[in-house]
Structure formats: structure tokens, C-alpha cells
Amino acid sequence: MMQNKYLLLITLAFVVVIPMFMPPSTSAEMLIFGIIAVSTNIMVGYTGMLSFGQAAYFGIAAYTAGLMLKAGMPLILAAPAGVLLALVTSGIVGYFCVKRTGLYFICLTFAFNQMFYFIAYVWTDVTGGEDGLPGIPRPDFLNDDITFYVFTAVVFFACMIAMLKIVNSPLGLVFKLIRENPNRAEAIGYNIQLFKWFSFVIASSFTGVAGTIYAMVYSIVPIDQIHWLKSGDIIFMLLFGGSGSFFGPLIGAAAYIWMSDTFSVIWARWPLMMGVVFVFVVLFMRGGMAELISNIYNRFKKPNGDPEKPDDTSTDKPVEVRS
């Protein structure tokens, strides 16, 4: 727990520093994808359910909030409505998905994601179709970019603290039991389908929170934000940052946004670079950046100790996704 407090402080320092090096909107985007990566990790890293469909709930919340803001409704209504719709949709989709495991689970999340994508694609009158949903106004008090960034940071920290509380609660422990050994978890008395569903809905709802803010960053929801490739990007963030730790995915999200922001203007084929990084991480850095940093930290902390000895304070290790 002590370690988590330090990591939260480091995150706070990072949040304060990034707008000094990047435009506030890019910085806000980093925090938004930070929420998505950490929340998706509750499902992937903690519960062992690999989803390729999280962009759906991000998109649903973003479209809902965007449409309501465009209709002149206040943020206090639009934001909860976006999150609620993400929650309800993920509740329905999750109900079907958690009935299956492994490859079938992955395929179901993917299929539902694409279903929502095609709905957004063809429902041009409402969603703007291929052009996306432009012209989303920000509330007056968020018109200034720095104020908007501060607002995003506050929501980001509220989400981080809430998710940290969840993963450290008995609920979080049950998620880990399911990841480790679902049959045994069931045999000691936990209804694993119900808990998998909770994990699915919790992860998707926090992703929805991120979606509602995203709608206001550039005042547009591009159609590709609901495409399954975005779900793939989220998984990249988890693996790059490290799905074995709570804070690891934040590193992945920040790196992804930084790379897309920096390299996309230089080279149109920049995702190729991401592919190379991905291959490198999967082959040589199974625990992602979080494990790399943790190993370096341990070497400095115990210069005379056995470098192979795991850090006693770490609660998680990179996991095999079993769903």
C-alpha cells in the first residue's frame, strides 16, 4: 500500500510536468488513455480476460456525451449519460461474453466491437458516419485548454483512486483468483461468471468515463475511435506498460500517445514502428516497462542482494491471459 502511495505521487508529478512539454490537448489525451489502459487492465491483467472490444464502450460513451453536448445539454447530464450507456451496453454484451472463455471470449468481444462500429458507420444522421461526430462544444468553464487539462487530471485521479481501491478490495482478490485458477475459485464458493461480469462492466464503465472526456478534447469523435483497431491499441498499451502491475498500463498509454503525436507527423507509416516495439516487448520484456523499471529499482535498492530475488512489495506478476 505504501508503494502505491509513492507511485500515485510519481503519477501526480508526471501529470503536473507533461503540459510543460506537450500541448494541453495531447497531455489530456494521455490521461484519458491512461484511464482506459488501467481500467482495461482490471479485466485483462487482474481477471485474465483478454478483450479486443473495449473501444466499443469508449466510443459509445464519447458519441452519447458528444451528441448531448451538441444538443445543448449540460456536462453534468451528458457525462453521466455517456458512462451509463457504456455501463448498460457492457452489461448486456458482458452477459453473453463471460459465458465463454479463451479464444471464444476474445472473438465475442471483437465481434460486438465491430457490430457497434458498423452501427456508428451506417447511422450517418446521428453519428456522422465515416466523418465522425464534429462540432462538440465544451462547457464555458472548460473552454480554456489549461482549465480543461486540470479538469481531465481531476477526473483521472478520481478514477485512479477508485480503481486502486477496487483492485485492493476483496473484489480485486476474487478477480485474481479467477485469473489464477477459475475452477478452484468456483470450488471455494465464488460465482465466477458473475465476478467476470463485474470485471467486464467495471472496466468498460471506467473506459466510458474516459470516452465522455475524449469527446471534448478535439471537439470531435472520429469513427476510428470505436473501431476494433483502437481496442488493439489499448492491448498494446497494456503489454508495453506491463499488465502485471496497476500503474504499468499508464506508461503504455503515455508512450502510445507520445509516439502517435510525435511520429505520425513525420512518417505516415509510423504504426510500423509500433509493430516493431510490440514484437520486442512480447519477445524480450514480458512484464513490459513496469517490470523493467522494477528490476532496475531493485538492483539499486539491494546492491548486495540477489538480483533474481523478487521484490517483496510487488503484489502482481505478468500474467498468462487465460480468460
Binding site: 481501491k165 477496487i166 485492493n168 478490495s169 476483496p170 473484489l171 482478490l173 476474487v174 485474481k176 483468483l177 489464477e180 485458477n181 475452477n183 478452484r184 475459485a185 468456483e186 470450488a187 471455494i188 464458493g189 465464488y190 460465482n191 465466477i192 517483496d312 502482481d316 506478476k317 500474467v319
Partner: protein, 249 residues
């Protein structure tokens, strides 16, 4: 003594293969009731039927009057039935304490709200978990990950997780499998000690253990119950000798 677990015509068929052929079996309160039989006799399938791991083809098993073969596996511990698995089946990346804590919490939580509280806030769950860990001799490993345990210690953890469910009957599936003689001795002592508090249904291959600790033994052969009685009676039973013990000689 009253009958706590009663199986009536319990059967399992895989295609043409009748693995368990209508077994009747009564387990009395406070007994160590062992189920033995040669390889392929259907013992594990019989156990899986009672613990809802596989769906039955016919028959029923009643625990304290309630049919336990048609409930969800996760409801079974809440009815007072805990199962220890043949293959060591704990949560490898979690600590010994977390393994047992989670099993105690499964039975002792007060409702949905408890799942969102802090783990440290459940004093009674902590005390009970620590008591069980001490009982199986793993107190010195409290905060070690389960994957670091030896095979013998893992078997003890498996029993600890089973006990954590506050059961009234324990189903033990070959608890001494793969254990060194010293560890087997410790496990046998623990089972004897547990018999004072719980009813135990045991599957075990090691004959000297079964004969030494059982009150009643049922013998399965080719999916059928061919004999039942005290260890003395079973040892003298000609049919059992032919089917099982006889072959060992």
C-alpha cells in the same frame, strides 16, 4: 449415527461408456468413509459427480437432505460441502495467506458491500485464516507465494483452502498422492485430527492409510460398488481380494 451424505443410484455415462453405474452409498456423521478401487474403477468420476464438477446421467446425492448434484459448483461450499482436489489446485501467484483468506471470505462475507471494503478490515476472517494456516503447519510461510511451496506443502495448503470453507463434510481426493513418507505421515495425522470435527469422504490409493484410518470402506470396481464394510471386513472379502487387493499380492 445419522446419515449426512446419501447417494442413490448415482450414474455417469460418456457415450457408450458407463463409468459410474448407479452407486448407492451412505456416509454417516463423524465417520471417515473411504472409497477405494483399482485404477479406472470410477472413483474420481464418482467424486466429481458429488462435487458438481461433472453433470450426472442419473441418480442423486443428498447432503443433509438437499440434492447436491443439481446445484451450481459455487453453491456447494455454501451448503457445507468442501472438496480437496487430487491435483494440487491452489492459486500459485497469490500468497498462502491470500489463498486461505479468499476461501474463508467466500463463506464469511456479509454481502455485496463487503466486497468493496478493505481486506485488512475483516478481523474475524484474518483470525480464522491464520488459525487454519497454523493448523496445517504453514504459519512460517504466511506471506510466501503458493508457487514457491514444495509439493508436500502445496498439499497442506490445498487442505487448508478446503477447511477454510467451514465445511460439515470434506471430500478428500487422494490427499497423500506424491508425498514423501514423512509428509504422508503428517497428512495422515492431520486427517485423523480432522475426523474429530468433520465427516470425511476419502479417496486414497495407499492401502495402509485407508485400512488404518477409515471407519467404513466402500469398494468400487468397473463403476459398481462391490463391497462395503469396516477395514477388517473389506480385507477378508473374497470379491474385493479378487478385484483389487488380490491383484496387488
Amino acid at each position: 449415527m445419522s446419515i449426512v451424505l446419501s447417494c442413490k443410484g448415482l450414474a455417469k455415462t460418456y457415450g457408450e461408456d458407463r463409468v459410474v453405474k448407479g452407486v448407492d452409498l451412505d456416509v454417516r456423521a463423524g465417520h471417515i468413509h473411504s472409497v477405494i478401487g483399482p485404477n479406472g474403477a470410477g472413483k474420481s468420476t464418482f467424486f466429481n459427480l458429488i462435487s458438481c464438477q461433472v453433470p450426472k446421467t442419473a441418480g442423486s446425492a443428498f447432503f443433509e437432505g438437499q440434492d447436491i448434484t443439481s446445484v451450481a459448483p459455487h453453491d456447494l461450499p455454501h451448503m457445507g460441502v468442501s472438496r480437496c482436489f487430487q491435483r494440487t489446485n491452489v492459486f500459485p501467484k497469490l500468497t498462502i495467506y491470500e489463498n486461505v483468506w479468499a476461501a474463508v471470505f467466500a463463506r464469511m462475507n456479509g454481502g455485496p458491500v463487503d466486497f468493496l471494503k478493505t481486506i485488512a478490515g475483516f478481523g474475524a476472517v484474518k483470525d480464522h485464516a491464520e488459525e487454519i494456516i497454523t493448523r496445517v503447519g504453514l504459519a512460517h510461510k504466511l506471506h510466501d507465494k503458493a508457487e514457491t511451496l514444495s509439493h508436500g506443502q502445496s498439499r497442506m495448503l490445498e487442505v487448508a483452502v478446503t477447511l477454510a470453507g467451514v465445511p460439515r463434510i470434506i471430500l478428500l481426493d487422494e490427499p497423500t498422492q506424491g508425498l514423501a513418507p514423512e509428509a504422508t505421515h503428517e497428512m495422515t495425522d492431520l486427517i485423523k485430527e480432522l475426523a474429530a470435527e468433520y465427516t470425511i469422504l476419502l479417496i486414497e490409493h495407499k492401502m495402509h492409510i485407508v485400512m488404518g484410518i477409515s471407519d467404513v470402506i466402500s469398494v468400487l470396481n468397473l463403476g459398481e460398488k462391490i463391497a462395503e464394510g469396516t477395514p477388517d471386513e473389506i480385507q477378508k472379502n473374497q470379491m474385493v481380494q479378487d478385484a483389487y487387493l488380490g491383484r496387488l499380492r
